[in-house]
């Protein structure tokens, strides 16, 4: 039995035929749509490498059955930069050495974008660390990751202040 679903992925609406209901959103992105920026680490919801935004919220794509997300709007790492212009989170991670091997980085970027949109952490490094605890980094670049997110939060706060002034 085959199933037909619609997904909007990085702004492009796609109709996808699933011949098997077991396909996760992660495997669909990587194996079928060749969007291999989203990484498969543990494949069990423990490492955060597969983080994408679904309808604006960060989730583990490895635990999401694609068939259950018919109609969803998905943002992956491939959709965050504007051409050669990096997303501020990407640029800040480079500036602060927020990675070494880079395998967890797409998940870190997507999770940080989600964290900032959720608006709960502000400029408190402890709240940022807590909010990012679902993303493991085996190289141990946590200090740089926290600093990068802090900088993006500060830039955003300053931009908002200028706008309201």
């Amino acid at each position: 039995m085959s199933f037909s679903i619609n997904l909007t992925i990085n702004g492009v609406r796609r109709n996808i035929e699933l011949e098997d209901p077991r396909v996760t959103l992660l495997d669909l992105l990587r194996e079928r749509l060749l969007l291999t920026g989203t990484k498969k680490g543990c494949d069990r919801g423990q490492c955060g490498a597969c983080t994408v935004l679904v309808d604006g919220r960060r989730v583990n794509s490895c635990l999401a059955l694609a068939i259950s997300h018919d109609g969803a709007d998905v943002l992956t790492i491939e959709g965050v930069a504007r051409g050669d212009l990096l997303h501020p989170v990407q640029a800040a991670l480079i500036a602060h050495d927020g990675f070494q091997c880079g395998f967890c980085t797409p998940g870190q970027v997507m999770s940080a974008i989600g964290l900032i949109q959720e608006g709960q952490a502000g400029d408190d490094p402890e709240r940022i660390r807590e909010g990012m605890s679902g993303n493991l980094c085996r190289c141990g670049a946590y200090a740089g990751i926290t600093e990068a997110i802090l900088e993006v939060q500060k830039d955003l706060a300053e931009a908002n202040q200028r706008r309201s002034a």
């Binding site: 960060r58 989730v59 635990l63 999401a64 059955l65 490094p125 402890e126 660390r129 807590e130 909010g131």
Partner: protein, 352 residues
């Protein structure tokens, strides 16, 4: 993962009919179920996707002071609902102390109640486990069992219930609304989960087809809002299950405890309500000796199921800390590390 039929009903009655078939399971976010299916721990032959059922994703506050939370409300949405977090701060704290932000964004209220134990022998299909397969035996009993139950366990099973959320729910007399083949009914969350006895394969009292449609908090639960905490001890700072946890809520009058609510997590196959300790606390001042005596009372029946004698003392200390902090007053803002017994240095750039 075994293959399965996938159905996506549009009404609750269709869902119940589809899920009553042997081998069927409900699918909400799947944050626990898909993981279990990948590991071969469970292999439903049919998934009944309830994510599109209408009317299950609302939080309603009723004129009588009670609250009704739809079963499909996501953990993060409930914890960040300002009305909810101010009325039931320990529940919000418990929600935010569980799992990761990604999982909380997906996981649902109903799914959290029905998540399975994280006993590693239950997860390891090469090990014998009575919960996974009735009558197979229990390798945890003689195995690595530091994290296992100290209350309500049996020779057949020493697994614990992993939920943080359920602990303050039980303390505050929350009720689940269930729809099944026989219509709707309500039962206390405290009565939802079963102790293992000789049938640990049954986690809850739900019957085939039963669907949790909502969670209720009685009006009285609001009266504890000013003095309540949820605390959990974990083996790492964040994103870990409780080794032991406690939800404590008190009503104070002139420094004396008028009424107390106390429940424990990580110590039994169900969230553990400590009613005798609550009775002891009523009418007493929350000084060190009284809190210690209440903690002793709460763990009076505890016995180790393996290398976990330490858990009994740990649970007592987390009770004392939770009661102390509850009596001191609910913090105006949730701490940076929800439910952590460890203080943090505000603004410190790097953790120790």
């Amino acid at each position: 993962m075994n293959n399965f039929d996938y159905v996506r009903p549009t009404t609750i009655s269709e869902a119940i009919a589809a899920a009553t078939e042997p081998g069927a399971a409900y699918l909400a976010a799947g944050t626990n179920l898909v993981d279990l299916m990948k590991g071969g721990v469970t292999g439903p032959t049919r998934l009944v996707d309830i994510t599109r059922l209408p009317g299950l994703d609302r939080v309603e506050y009723l004129p009588d002071g009670s609250a009704r939370i739809g079963a499909m409300v996501r953990n993060a949405d409930l914890a960040h609902d300002l009305d909810f977090a101010s009325a039931y701060p320990a529940i919000a704290e418990a929600l935010l102390s569980g799992a990761s932000a990604q999982l909380r964004n997906a996981a649902t209220v109903g799914g959290n109640l029905l998540q399975r134990t994280r006993c590693s022998y239950f997860y390891d299909v090469a090990s014998a486990c009575n919960k996974r397969e009735r009558g197979a035996g229990c390798e945890a009993r003689e195995g690595e069992n530091r994290s296992h139950a100290v209350l309500g366990w049996s020779e057949a099973c020493i697994a614990t219930h992993p939920s943080d959320f359920c602990v303050p729910l039980v303390a505050l007399d929350a009720v689940v609304e269930i729809e099944g083949r026989g219509g709707r009914r309500k039962i206390a969350v405290e009565e939802l989960h079963r102790l293992p006895g000789d049938s640990p394969e049954r986690d809850s009292v739900l019957e085939p087809g039963d669907l949790i449609v909502a969670l209720w908090l009685p009006a009285e639960a609001r009266s504890f809002a000013a003095h309540q905490r949820y605390l959990k001890v974990r083996e790492r700072t964040s994103y870990a299950f409780a080794v032991a946890s406690a939800a404590a809520a008190v009503r104070l009058e002139g420094g004396t405890i008028w009424d107390a609510r106390l429940a424990l997590g990580g110590v039994a196959a169900k969230p553990w309500r400590a009613r005798s300790a609550e009775r002891y606390l009523a009418g007493r001042n929350p000084d060190a000796a009284v809190l210690r005596a209440a903690a002793e009372e709460a763990l009076a029946e505890a016995k180790p199921s393996g290398d976990n004698q330490y858990k009994i003392e740990l649970a007592k200390r987390i009770i004392i800390r939770a009661l102390t902090l509850a009596a001191a007053g609910t913090p105006e803002r949730l701490p940076a590390l929800p439910a952590s017994p460890f203080s943090t240095i505000p603004g410190a750039l790097h953790g120790a």
